[in-house]
Structure formats: structure tokens, C-alpha cells
Symmetry: C2
Subunit: 697 residues, 2 copies
């Protein structure tokens, strides 16, 4: 009996990725892999292509789509389902989970005439509770990492085969991907791979199990040369034909393996994913501790490795408030979209698209740190919301939207969604223009990431001038001075209408460094909320603490009037200073916006009508800031009552990419500020106005 090598390939591109990138990856890896394998028809394998990518092929790259169809119809490829928009299935509402899978299954069935029975689990994020839904959806097997089993106490040699698991009595087959094969294919010389497979067979393994990213065949650094030019794939296919002839190894699909072989037994898996994912899901500081522990132990590859564990995927919602906010907003729109009264097919589809996983988390590359991915999710979410609220009315609710136990003030209309957070400085955390499907508050805060330690280390110790391509997980390139300078961490989350009382000696540079001599305790502190007629009132009985001074009590009242269905905010401040001693300071109202031109490049920032360059910090004076969107004609105006000094800078994060450390602009921080001379009994009144409008055409 030949050893079945169960072979699977997973291809996916995030919602919002640039078409030229998808095209390049298709040309460099997805297509040439299919074309090469097609020549060896006895090489049968399972292929998961996310709905997003498959649809893109159908619309923009029919050659890949048709080739896939051809290979399915001749039985060479078993199409594998997933969530259509590649969501983390465990963290989306059950009905959406079902629809995601059904849509993908249905699309595959309509396109290729085959009903898939296997499921690719996005990022292999497992929860036992998924079993019931998947079985109900007609799924017979899923594929996870061998790590899922190892951490449950299974021995590596017991994992060359599949297991059954169950929940609510419903049974599902689970294949553990052999990590060794993940590292071996396509990197080991074919002879070594052959030896390994022989070894698996000798030790009584029923199946050799492989399933991994398609980008490894041409798109990962160095693989194009290795896999195609230097002929790895050709040798592999040639060898596989020979193995088959000699009755040693047969390459087959997962469905076939399920039919041919018996389960090895029963297994239950804990919440788990692959090892790196469990590490990334930890808080940054804990990642460093975990790395230290791993270094001390030198457990890699030993049986101890399975005892060392990081966190679960859901922790990303705790680690990144932006991800959590997006997720909980998605919940809200999802609930709306499931309201039978509001049912709208297109809104449903847009909502499901907004569940695409990539923008919700961050490992070492991209993800949440890529504004265009977040933007794409927000666009889909707001598209759904616009359709669902089109006939809705204006309303204000108090809801704990982000599940932190404290209520937010949520305004919705058919035109806009605004969310204020009384518990956090009464800040405006979201301002979405439904017409423009744009959330101006889509800004990422600058935070410490575990890999920043490497940057500092490389900066001090000196890294290689050239990165090494042997592994995309270890970057060794020396960071630029600009990158090192940009390692700045914010002490507050970057939203809008945040009040600062700050040291008048400080300047733009300090603002950029998020260290500008804050004297107040307002910015991110709890405010009371009161709704009085048409006005929203946020107030705090706070204080100023100039260095070396006692607390100087100050009552701050922020009155906000929403007009034009949430497209105009009239903001009025009343400051009652209650200390005897006089205080001279600056009072700034910070806003952080992600203007549409940052997403698509069309539009500008104007100060009093003059274009300015927002790609570097600047200080200016003016009474009118305009963010234009030349694609749609929408503008966001900040109107000041008088000419004021204004700080502005692009909020940049330092994150990794396959090319090294990069700076990514996450939004613009602007802060007009007033010089204040606070005296007891003197009430200060200040105001400003924010407006979203459409350019007259």
C-alpha cells in the first residue's frame, strides 16, 4: 500500500488588497503552480481559494479561474470551502458564520459543479463550538495544525492520520497538518522529502498530511527562483510520479483520504492556532517574556514545546482596541442586517465582507497596521449600514458598544454615525459618513510591539545591510534612523475632540512625540454625560497639575450640538477655573482623522484654502482646515472661531513588512490651540465647528 501524501494548498488575498498586488501574486505563484501541476494529472490535491480571491479571478483573471475549473472537472483538484470572505469563523455571529460557509460552498458548486465537503479554517483558529455549525453545514472535515493536537497531549508520531471530534454529539473529521512537511515543502531537496515520507510510512503513519499557503510556490522571497527556475517543483512532480509508479507514495486529496482510511481515534482540541499566532495574540510585553522563556529552555523541536503556549486569537480584541471596536461595530451592523424587517441582500453581502479577518489582527506583517485593509473593512461595514439605515431616523442611544462595561453615546442617522465615549475624555471615537462610506476616526494609536525591541537591538548592535531571505519570519535588516526615531508610543488612544491643557513652552516636536507637558486630567479621563434638549453635554470636574504645583480645580463642560443629520458638530466649551493662583497654559483640542485622500490619494489638506503637505509635521496658523476627497467631492471642515496656532502631523507606526521595517501613516493628528490665562471666577468660553459637506458641483 502506498503512503498517501494528502496535499492541500490555501490561497487568499485580504479584502482591500491592491489589485496590482493580487495580480502579481497570481502571476508569480497561484497560476504557475496550477499550470505546472496540471501536467502531472496523477497529482491530485485539495485547494482552498478564498471567495474574495476566487471572485477576483473570475472577474479579472479568468485564466486562473478557468484553469481551476478545468482541473476540478478532471478530478485533479478537490475544491475546499471556507468562509466566503475568509473570516475567523469562531468570532462572527452564528448566522453569519453559516452564511459565509454556505456562500462559499454554493459559489464553488455553481462554478465547478462540485459540492465541497472539507473546510479550511481561517488562520486555523479552532474552538470546539465550531463543530456543531460546520457539521450542520455539511462539512465532513477540517484541517488544523498538528500543534492543536500536540498541545492536547498527543505525540507527534500519532498524528499521521486524521481524528474524529464531536460537539453536541455531531462528528467531524480533523486532519493535523504535519509541521515538518510545512517546513519541508517546497524548501527541502526532493530526496530529503522522500526520505522523510519513507520514514513516516515505516513508522506506521497512515497519511502524510500537508496543507499550506500557495504563496510559498513563487511569491515568498526567493521561492520563485527556487521553485520554478531551479526546478524544485518539476523535480517534486517527477518524483511524485515515480513514487506512484513504484507504489510508494500517492498524492491525493483530503476527501479521498477520508474515504480510504479510518480515523485514528477521538480527539478534542482546545482553543488553539499555530504557534506563532498564539504568540502574536499575547500583549507585547508578554511576547517578550515568552521569547525569553523559549530562549532559556531551548525547547524547540523537543516534546516540551507543546507545553509552552501563548494566547488565543480573541485576545487581539483585548490587545488592539481598534480591532475590538471594528469587531463590535460589525456585531451591531450584523444584528441590524439580520433584522427581517430590514433585510437587504446587498447589505448582508457587504456586512459579510467586513468580516474578512486580515484587518482584525496583527502578527509580524501588516494586518491591522495596514490602513488600506482597515479602510476596506470600514467601507464594507458602512456600505451595509448605509443600506440598512437608509430609511431610518435620527437617534441617540446609550450603549456599551465596545463591551468595556461603560456606555458610549451613539448617534445614528441615514447620513452618519457618531460615537462618543464619556468614559474616555468624552472623545469622538467614530465619525462615519455613510454617504461616503468613510469613518474619519479610523486611526491607529502608536503602541509598543514586541518586535520594536529587535529594531532597537539591530540599531545598537548593527544588523545585516541586506536582509536574509531564508525565512520571512526573521528580518535582520538594519533599521533606518527615521524608523528608530518613529518609535513613539501614545499615552492615549487617538480619537477626536480630546482636550489638552499643556505647557506653553512645548512645541510641535513634543506633540509629535506625544510628550507635550500635559497639565490637565481631562484627555482620556472619565467625563459625565448629560443630554439636555438638543445638546449633548460632557463634563468633568477635573484639575490642572503644573509641575511642582498643587491640583488646580477646573470644571470643563463640552456641549455638542449635532446638525444636518450628524454631518455638523457645533462644539462649545465652558471652562470654570477654581484655583486662586493664576495658570497660563495652552488649551488644545486634538483631533485624529483618517481623511479619504489617505486611502485613495485623491484630495488634500487645506489650511485657510492653502494646500499644505501633511506628510511631515508642521505648525501653522488658520481658522479653517479642510480635508477634501476629490473622488467623491466630500469635505471635512474644521472651523475655528478665530485664527489659531495649529499643530499637525502624520501619525506613523513602525511595523514589519517582508522588506524590512516600515513607517505606515495611520492618520493625521491636528490640534488647534488657544493660549489661556486662567483666573479664579473667570469663565472661559471657546467653540469650534466640524462639518462634512459635499462640494457644490
Amino acid at each position: 500500500m502506498p503512503l498517501p501524501l494528502v496535499f492541500g494548498v490555501h490561497n487568499h488575498q485580504p479584502l482591500g488588497n491592491f489589485p496590482h498586488v493580487i495580480e502579481r501574486l497570481t502571476r508569480e505563484s497561484y497560476l504557475p503552480f496550477l499550470e505546472a501541476v496540471k501536467k502531472e494529472p496523477r497529482f491530485r490535491f485539495s485547494l482552498h481559494v478564498s471567495g474574495i480571491l476566487l471572485k477576483w479571478w473570475e472577474d479579472h483573471f479568468p485564466r486562473a479561474f478557468d484553469l481551476l475549473g478545468e482541473m476540478v472537472s478532471r478530478g485533479q483538484i478537490e475544491p475546499v470551502a471556507g468562509g466566503f470572505f475568509e473570516p475567523i469563523l469562531a468570532v462572527i455571529p452564528r448566522e453569519d458564520r453559516k452564511e459565509q460557509v454556505l456562500r462559499h460552498k454554493d459559489y464553488l458548486r455553481r462554478s465547478f459543479g462540485v459540492t465541497p465537503e472539507g473546510l479550511w479554517l481561517t488562520e486555523r483558529v479552532w474552538e470546539q463550538a465550531l463543530v456543531e455549525d460546520l457539521v450542520d453545514l455539511g462539512i465532513k472535515y477540517v484541517v488544523v495544525d498538528d500543534r492543536h493536537f500536540l498541545v492536547s497531549g498527543f505525540e507527534k508520531q500519532a498524528l499521521h492520520g486524521y481524528y474524529l471530534t464531536e460537539a453536541e454529539g455531531k462528528r467531524l473529521a480533523v486532519f493535523p497538518i504535519d509541521e515538518t512537511l510545512r517546513y519541508a515543502i517546497p524548501f527541502w531537496p526532493v530526496e530529503r522529502l522522500e526520505r522523510y515520507l519513507r520514514d513516516v510510512a515505516l513508522r506506521g503513519g497512515r497519511l502524510a498530511i500537508y496543507f499550506d499557503d500557495g504563496e510559498k510556490f513563487g511569491a515568498w522571497p526567493g521561492t520563485r527562483k527556487w521553485v520554478y527556475e531551479e526546478g524544485w517543483l518539476e523535480s517534486f512532480l517527477r518524483a511524485s510520479a515515480q513514487w506512484q509508479e513504484e507504489g510508494r507514495v500517492e498524492i491525493i486529496t483530503f476527501s479521498e483520504a477520508l474515504k480510504r482510511t479510518e480515523a485514528l481515534g477521538l480527539a478534542y482540541l482546545p482553543t488553539a492556532s499555530y504557534k506563532e499566532m498564539e504568540e502574536w495574540a499575547l500583549p507585547a510585553k508578554r511576547i517578550l517574556e515568552l521569547k525569553e522563556l523559549t530562549r532559556r529552555l531551548r525547547v524547540e523541536g523537543t516534546h516540551f514545546e507543546a507545553f509552552i503556549r501563548g494566547g488565543h486569537w480573541r485576545n487581539f480584541f483585548v490587545k488592539y482596541p481598534e480591532s475590538n471596536y471594528l469587531h463590535k461595530r460589525m456585531y451591531r451592523v450584523s444584528a441590524l442586517s439580520r433584522d427581517p424587517q430590514l433585510f437587504d441582500q446587498e447589505a448582508r453581502l457587504a456586512l459579510l465582507a467586513s468580516q474578512c479577518n486580515d484587518a482584525y489582527w496583527h502578527g509580524i506583517f501588516g494586518g491591522l497596521y495596514l490602513p488600506h485593509l482597515r479602510q476596506a473593512v470600514w467601507e464594507s461595514l458602512l456600505e451595509a449600514e448605509q443600506k440598512l439605515r437608509a430609511r431610518g431616523k435620527e437617534e441617540i442611544e446609550l450603549v456599551d458598544l465596545d463591551y468595556d462595561g461603560r456606555e458610549e453615546v451613539v448617534y445614528t442617522s441615514p447620513e452618519a454615525v457618531l460615537v462618543f465615549k464619556p468614559s474616555y475624555g468624552g472623545q469622538l471615537v467614530e465619525w462615519s459618513s455613510l454617504g461616503n462610506r468613510h469613518n474619519y476616526g479610523n486611526v491607529l494609536t502608536r503602541r509598543f510591539e514586541a518586535y520594536h525591541e529587535d529594531i532597537l537591538h539591530l540599531d545598537q548592535e548593527g544588523g545585516h545591510a541586506e536582509e536574509e531571505v531564508s525565512s520571512i519570519h526573521h528580518l535582520q535588516k538594519r533599521p533606518s534612523a527615521e524608523v528608530v526615531r518613529a518609535l513613539v508610543y501614545d499615552w492615549y488612544e487617538r480619537h477626536s475632540l480630546m482636550e489638552h491643557f499643556f505647557d506653553p513652552q512645548r512645541g510641535l516636536e513634543d506633540f509629535v512625540a506625544c510628550d507635550f507637558g500635559e497639565w490637565g486630567d481631562f484627555a482620556n479621563q472619565p467625563y459625565h454625560f448629560h443630554r439636555s434638549g438638543e445638546e449633548l453635554l460632557f463634563f468633568r470636574d477635573g484639575g490642572l497639575y503644573p509641575p511642582g504645583s498643587e491640583r488646580r480645580p477646573l470644571l470643563l463642560r463640552k456641549f455638542i450640538r449635532l446638525r444636518r443629520k450628524g454631518r455638523t458638530l457645533v462644539v462649545r466649551y465652558e471652562l470654570e477655573y477654581r484655583a486662586q493662583v493664576e495658570t497660563r497654559c495652552f488649551f488644545g483640542v486634538e483631533m485624529n482623522f483618517y481623511p479619504p485622500f489617505m486611502a485613495h490619494g485623491q484630495g488634500r489638506l487645506l489650511v485657510n484654502g492653502r494646500a499644505v503637505d501633511p506628510s511631515a509635521p508642521f505648525e501653522t496658523q488658520g481658522n479653517r482646515l479642510t480635508f477634501t476627497d476629490d473622488k467623491t467631492g466630500e469635505r471635512l471642515l474644521v472651523k475655528l472661531p478665530e485664527t489659531l496656532r495649529i499643530f499637525c502631523f502624520p501619525v506613523r507606526t513602525v511595523n514589519q513588512s517582508e522588506k524590512g521595517y516600515e513607517l505606515t501613516t495611520q492618520g493625521l493628528a491636528v490640534m488647534p490651540f488657544w493660549p489661556l490665562d486662567l483666573r479664579q471666577g473667570k469663565k472661559v468660553e471657546l467653540s469650534l465647528e466640524l462639518e462634512i459637506s459635499k462640494k457644490r458641483s
Copy 2:
């Protein structure tokens, strides 16, 4: 503001525990604790008493029941709900889970007029998917260990307060129990405890959170003296009154803490339980590896500790086939009990009772290893099944009952359930008499347990003559020679109708040692199954392998006829020997039974009418074995066609108890055997009969 010390006590006794034990524990710990605390009415706390124990109090110990009621009505005790029969909520069917909680809630409401809003999670076995059901059941908070949070990346100092979590958008408050307090109460001197609480308050802790077993107050070794006689509890109560007067610490219930304080934020927890439970759920060998790793690391109490993890509770089903079998049989009866056509209130209750957790797992003490606990679960399960099948008919199904991917042959009638496992020697794995509510197959296999290493170590190195009582988790008592001798591990699972071809030189002692020169490959190997008319046929084309010989082919056919609704089994063997060389060996048919007299002491084992002592191994001759049940008059007969030699021994496991290492009898192994002289072409036919009957009265 005083620091709230949120105080909770959990009292539970397993289904099937001996009434005298429950009474002793009530007198020694549950009652004296309540009586002492009652004197200090400002000491308010939350109390979980499992439905099983509470009902027992109501029926047999009204003093405790009434005292509890009194303390609830004066607001001193907040009753906390759970599953009525203390099941692991994550592993029972959803409808049952809901009914378990509703029944407990309802019982508390009817008894004490208060609707509980908190839930004690059995063994703190957490799965995120529980959240939805619990919220739907009106539960507002649950209590877990701080470890659940630590392994998610939270820092210990961030855990003095509660968090919110959610699933499907539904929110639930989760309190992390402070492990330090679990170790401190009632073991630290009150002054030290006071210092700790002061420290928590100084570091900004919102709540000090304690919830632990009530047995700590008088029933754990040494605690009676310490807590009552030496006055720990009195000092603690006195101190708590003083703390309250001075506005430093206030002891309150969990509900009150929920009302008074805000959540610390959002949290998601992985599949987790307390540290020891995660260790126990691993395979024995992995436990030793984990222990070795922990020793090497010396991580206890450090921030590394949270990275080192064991397995999930569900792994017990993989680790112990007996637990899995019980669980999957429970699934089957549960499905039956939820069939609206069959609905029977009493059957539902008995089914829910069979979900009581204790018999399904094993840590260091008891649990699955206590036959009376397994027996109680089987009794409840079979009571439910009897009621549900009372009007059913005889049927045979092929079902993968234990979820190992291979089908079992399942016979059911209103009188009996018989389950044969073709994939495992065609063995009879269950023979339940529904009338007697007894599964004769309820036998536990002898397996290696991690703590057996300690026994060998203590035996070799010498332990303390007296055990130390400082901790019940570390036993140091030197094992008896009998215990050391009993460390025998079975190479097959102990069921019935298992065929052995064995070395005629071997004797009883070898049989006891499970090392009796097996020459065949039948015992636990796959059989084919075929149903021919009224007969069930199990057959295997196997072989004999006497030492130093080539394989000697043998076809074994086992025909089984079920009569009297499954109360009689007529077993007929046909052996076709196909080797040229002659083989002389013994052919034994092994049976492992747990007779009812082992459960309640009333009844005997008779060989040809003569009583024998089954508490030690013996060899006898006879043609009739009778297991009597003097309580009900039921008898299990093994009828042999002629007088045969018979081996018999009590299957004993070595397990820990609070008193040291103990031997526990898990059932009786009996094996009648025939001398065989196998020659080519000679067909051997043998038979025996098994019968369950009621004594004529």
C-alpha cells in the same frame, strides 16, 4: 472606600457518595462554617451548594438546609446557581445544560425565595461558547480562576476586579478568583491575610476575590483543629468586623460587587481550568514530562508560569475510554430523553443526574477510579434508559457509539443493552440489565498513572512514615508492599468475551499480572462482523505466534445468539486451525464483570453452588459461575458446557486518596479455559452461555 473582599464558598458532594460521608462532611465543615459566620451578620458572602448536596440536606439534614434559608432571608448569603447535578457544563448537550441550570435556579428560588444571578462553573471548566447559553439563562456572572486570565496574557495585578466577556454579542461578567487568597484562606494567620488585603488595596485593586471549597473549613486534613479549635475562623470573623468598622475591608457577595463596581474591561478566555486540572487532563506520560519541565524551569510564582500549560478537560475522554464510553452513552440516552414522543419527566431527571461530573475524570483522588461513583452514574443512566425504552422493542443497530470512527453492534430491548465492539476483539463492552439498572461491564482497566512514579520512588527511596497534612496535594507516605505489587498495567481494555490463546505453562499469577503468554492476535484485534439471521457472527482470520515460531493461521468464528430480550447470550466458537505444525495451548474466554454485590455488598460469587472469596485471586474448576445480587435477587450465570479450569481475580488499581495510596477493586476478571490440541483441518467447536435471571421468590 473599604476594599470589598468578595467571598464565595462552594459545597458539593458527588452523586453516589456514601450518606455517612456526606453527613460527616456536613457536620465537620459545611454546618460549623455556617453557624460560625451567622454570628457575624455583616459578613455577607456567596454560597454555591450543588443541587445534589442541597437536596440531601433538605431530605436528610434539614438543620443545614434551614440555616442556609435563614441566612439567605436575612441577606447574609447570596445563593449561587450551577448545574443542578454539578455537570461539566461545556460537555453536556445544550438542552441539558439549560435544564441543569434552570433546575438549580428554580430550586433555589422555590426554597429560599431568591433568584440567583451568578453561576459556579463546575471545576471551572471554561469554554467561550458557554457564554451565550448562560446569558440566555439569566446568569449575570460566573467565577473562574485567575489562571484563566493569566494564560490569556493578563498580569496578576490587573485581576483584582471583574471583567466582561461576550459571545454572539451577549455579555457576561467574569470574576477571577485570586489564587493567593485560595491558598491564604483559611491557612494564613489573619494578620498576614490583612497585610495582603492592604497591599491589594494599595495597588489599586478594586476587589479582592475569593471563592473555594467549603471542605477547607473543617474537612480537609488538619483544618478542623486549625479553623475551629485553634480559632482561625473566629479571629478571621473578628478581624473582618473590625476592618469593616475601620472602613478598610468589607466582606460582600459577588452580586453586590457587580452592582458596586465597574468592569475592569473586556476579556476573552481560552479553554482552561485551574492549573492542576490542566495537568491531570494530559496523558500520564505527558504529565511526567510537564513535571520535569516545571522542575527544570522553577517557574512557580513567576510570570513564566502562565506560559506552561497542560491539556483541556475534554482530554479525559481521550485518556480514559471508560469515561468516554460513559459520556457517549449519556449522549445517546440524552437524545432519547429529548425525543418529544418519549418524554418522561423522571427519565429526564435521572439522565441529568447521570451527568454529575465526578465519575468522568480523575485527578489525584477518586473520581473515575471510585467504582461507587461510576456505579451511581450508571444507575441513573440506566434508570433513564429503562423508563425511555419501557415500551420499546428489540433492535440491533450498527453505530459508532464511542466516536472512534468504527461501528459498534448495539442491541437494545426494554430489558437490556448489549454493546459489542467488532474493532476490538468483538468484545462485549457493555451488558446492562435495565431491570436491575446495572451494567455488568462497568470495569476499569489498570493503567499507568503519573503518580505511580512517586510510589516507585517512595518505595525505593523511602518516604515519611506519616503523611504530612500541610497540603493534600502532596502525599509522602510510604506505600505498602501490596500497593507496589499491584502496579500492573493491562495491555487490553477489560471487557468480556475476549479470546486468548495462551501458553499452557502460565498460571493464575501470570493472568493477574496480565502477562500470561498470549500467542494469539485475537483478544483486542479487529474482527469482522456479520449478522446472519438470529445470530451475530464475529470472526477474524488471525494467527498464533508461539515464541520462536512462524505465524500459524487460525480462523476464529464467534457466534452469539441473544435470547430472553438480551438476558441470555449463547456463545459458540468455531476454530479452524490452518497450520501444518500442531499447537498445544490454552484457549481462554475472558470476562470482566462488575457484579452488583461489589457496589452494595449484598451477594456472592458461587462456583458450582459453592461460595468463593473473590477478594483474592484464585483458581478453581467448575462449570457454573453465579454472581448473585441479594438486594434484588438478580443473578448473572456463566454456564460452561463441561467442568473447566477457571482463573479469577479482583482487578485492583492503585490510586491516591487523602489517606495515602490505596487499592481499589474495579471488578472481577474470570477466565474459564480449555486445553487445545490444534491440528490442521481439525475444526474445534466450543460454547458457553451467559444468563441474567431473577431468583424465583
